[in-house]
Symmetry: C2
Subunit: 392 residues, 2 copies
């Protein structure tokens, strides 16, 4: 039996959500997505979190059967939720907001009917925006995560062997991450991030376009999963970019480093330096109140000064972004693109990943996860950024 | 550049889908889910397959930009689909069926608007049912998959070391699977199967209930992902159940085997034998035309004869099913439960997984993936079924 309680931490998160419910004019939310249930309960269950503007959240649980506490009601199906709420003396709302961007259409229709809601308001945006700004506990969790991810990355140089394929290299990285405590699986928003534990890109494969929402692609090992390592032998004169899973505790850090096999052309080194320069500029300029779209423009200024536009964020296929929020999900808000509308806020956590793809060489660049502070960005993924030679 | 063609294989699949479109009275489908796109194109892209009753499918692709062929139209957004269809001389349908069980509510609204569809018909069921019955090529693909999964499993006894934790054991299994060519990631239907590469359950942890749609649970290593191995040391007198990822080529086989650490009580051995007896009965009785609900009842007859009801498919939390379809997704149709409505058809592929959880010992039972033939089931996951002692 496991206890589940409305802790002060949960109350803090509930306040984040309620503030946005008021802005939207939502009386109540019915939350079903695993990431959002985890945010609002620090547990994962099959079922629903019912949240209105006055009462403590109610955890309506279908499975598992071993979560207990005052806030818990076991239900067999969502149609029973109004009954359990009424038994608690909770006034039923006129309508509920639902996670319209996360739940399948059929499920939204079913849940809407439970509360006689004709045109449900969208809870997805409220919850994504609430999750943008982290609580002190969430920040500590992510800091711990970054330390473990960096510890696993420090073992990467010992993994490389001559004539290894990129997939063999990735498999050994997966293993050291998992032995360090990485959970392997990680949550994402949307349907467009199919991958196993992240991406290892060597040489020309970094230039293979992908269907997915990743900064750079890779052709993948099989047509059924066209992303990431493709089985090539890692040859001298190429780079290998490692952007692997940083989920050790339910929160994620996102971190990319690049190694070389032998020496690589100056153009690759120049682009790698430009990536680091972008990070140094943004670390200083990114403060509460700054527009995320402005961050993208600052990055582009450095790219243009360096004359590297055609390699930035891909070569045969480009991605017009330079970073994204990170936390329970890998791809949280804000998204840092030319069209983003969000302003930075204190205690947001964002990953910045200015990357370049150099034809015949590979991908270069650095990605760190940062905490937004009044004095600029503070890295949660401290690890040497230089390109080191694996073959030496 | 990669070619994408309307091959004879694709035409075969299209016919499976069209037969069901006619039954439903659907003029056209607009398909967006990755599993279904892969089924209808043998590729994965961000975009849509447009399929009506007369024309070859049209692949409307947003990303990647390197797929080419007569059936391909590049689009920036779904609103441009009617225009590209009209340019091809295709008459626009009065409405399109959409994947209502797979796509988020917001996306369905957007796609409905593109075709002025007020109440879209549900393409999810059509596509799931079409995918139930495999083509000869799909069957060959799954056979190859089963051989590779069995090859990886054959290395499991060499992995075990005294005082290993279940997670350490799982990590090394993940590694041998990956080195054998396993893609790691696998597609599922629905929102309720979060896990990394499958499940390793040792001892009492097999009895920990999970929120997810897996036959048996496990507490997991972290509250954020409450499923599977929990970090315990594998002790003498327990079993370890291995139910790990069998996706080597876009199609999956699902296969479970059990090992022991030292000797285990007779009750566990008896339950394991009952599982194998269930499989032998079903292998003989499961033929085209047999109701999947009848398969469940046949399994329950063996369970009851053995007096093992309280351990069947979980102990503190039970799952009322004994198997499921498998293919591009891990959990395809038919589902083999007391309430299933499907009849078996030739060339369905189903996983049968009669499992028992024995308190203080662990989980026992066998899972195989089978092809439905006129003479009964043919196993695609041939591998010894006996419980062998890892500590010997």
């Amino acid at each position: 039996m496991t206890d589940i309680k409305i802790t002060d931490e949960i109350k803090l998160r509930v306040e984040q959500v309620r503030r946005r419910m008021l802005e939207l004019g939502a009386q109540a939310l019915l939350v079903a997505d695993a990431s959002n249930i985890y945010y609002l309960s620090e547990r994962v269950f099959r079922g629903f979190v019912y949240l209105d503007l006055v009462n403590d959240p109610v955890y309506c649980i279908i499975r598992p059967n071993n979560l207990h506490g005052d806030a818990v009601e076991f239900i067999r199906k969502p149609e029973l939720i109004p009954e359990v709420l009424q038994k608690r003396g909770i006034n039923l709302p006129d309508s509920v907001a639902l996670e319209l961007d996360d739940l399948p259409y059929s499920e939204v229709l079913r849940l809407s009917a439970v509360f006689h809601t004709d045109a449900p308001q969208n809870a997805s945006v409220i919850l994504r925006e609430a999750r943008m700004v982290k609580t002190p506990k969430e920040i500590e969790t992510m800091k711990a995560d970054g330390v473990r991810q960096a510890a696993a990355y420090s073992r990467i140089p010992h993994i490389y062997k001559e004539d290894m394929t990129d997939i063999e290299f990735q498999i050994e990285i997966e293993r050291v991450l998992r032995l360090e405590g990485c959970l392997g699986y990680y949550r994402t928003s949307g349907r467009l991030m199919e991958i196993n534990m992240g991406s290892v890109l060597n040489g020309e494969n970094a230039d293979a376009p992908t269907p997915y929402d990743f900064a750079v692609g890779g052709g993948g090992a099989d047509l059924s999963l066209p992303v990431g390592a493709d089985g090539r032998t890692m040859k001298p004169g190429t780079t290998v970019m490692v952007d692997m899973c940083g989920n050790f505790n339910g929160y994620q850090t996102d971190m990319t480093r690049v190694w070389s096999i032998g020496s690589v052309p100056d153009l690759a080194l120049k682009a790698h330096d430009a990536s680091r320069k972008i990070l140094r500029v943004l670390e200083k300029e990114a403060r509460p109140g700054v527009a995320t779209s402005a961050l993208y423009e600052m990055a582009m200024d450095v790219v243009r000064e360096s004359g590297l536009e055609k390699y930035f964020m891909g070569h045969t296929q480009h991605a017009a972004f330079v970073g994204h929020g990170v936390g329970i999900q890998l791809n949280e808000l804000p998204v840092i693109t030319p069209r983003s509308k969000h302003l930075l806020e204190q205690n947001m956590t964002i990953a910045l990943e200015p990357k370049f793809v150099i034809p015949h060489v590979g991908a270069v660049g650095v990605e760190n996860t940062y905490l937004v502070t009044p004095d600029g960005l503070r890295s949660l993924t401290e690890f040497p950024e230089e390109i080191q030679d694996l073959a030496q």
